[in-house]
Symmetry: C2
Subunit: 113 residues, 2 copies
Amino acid sequence: MRRDVFQAIADPTRRDIIGLIAHRSLNLNAVTGHFDISRPAISKHIKILTQCGLLTIRQKGRDRICEANFKKLNEVSDWVEQYRTFWTNKLDALCDFLDEEATGNKSNQELQK
Amino acid sequence: MRRDVFQAIADPTRRDIIGLIAHRSLNLNAVTGHFDISRPAISKHIKILTQCGLLTIRQKGRDRICEANFKKLNEVSDWVEQYRTFWTNKLDALCDFLDEEATGNKSNQELQK
DNA sequence: TATATTTGCAACCATACGGTTAAATATTCA
DNA sequence: TGAATATTTAACCGTATGGTTGCAAATATA
């Protein structure tokens, strides 16, 4: 089964887990305390996050401490940022123009809505 | 069912579609030509991308021209970038230190691997 | 008008996902 | 050693996902 960062952060619970342990590592039980779902459910989310490298687990006695590994987010950042110029700067206008050229012209108005 | 940008870009085919129409808007048939899956499969991907606002469709005769709407990627960018300091600069060391404090100290070596 | 082209839609299928409960395992503590 | 705690694993369930084929509908073209 596919297991990559994009798929891992697709689930809102998993994004919340990352946000939770960002500043403070927690054991699985403590993580579970912040959600309304069962411990095994959290355990599965943690496993997915671990498999894609977004999270590492440090065993400490019977506890398993979850720590975020943010370097992995670079993959997402890189993918998104390659398109940044398309939505932030003046290239927008150029893009629209090129689209007109490519697809054979039409009123631009419906693009606004 | 949940329909948000994170879930939309989780699928590699959909990320490829976005990359494909980034510089040049295409009709659905042309998009399909770049993949090994059927037209209805592409149509479904396009629908998902449209529902979450990453893509708009402009009808032109019998063609439906797909255009990327990159502004929606801001949502992803914002989420990722809030963690950037955690993996790019000196705060890494501070974070590790705080983890030690919080979880009760242990060799830092296994964090490196 | 007849035909080809582009697309949508319905029905279907196998598998993945996100969740549950219950039992098993491992560690700590009295 | 026995009990409590933390977590994983297994079995299961309903629904979503990503794909298919076949057919209908709308538009363009000969």
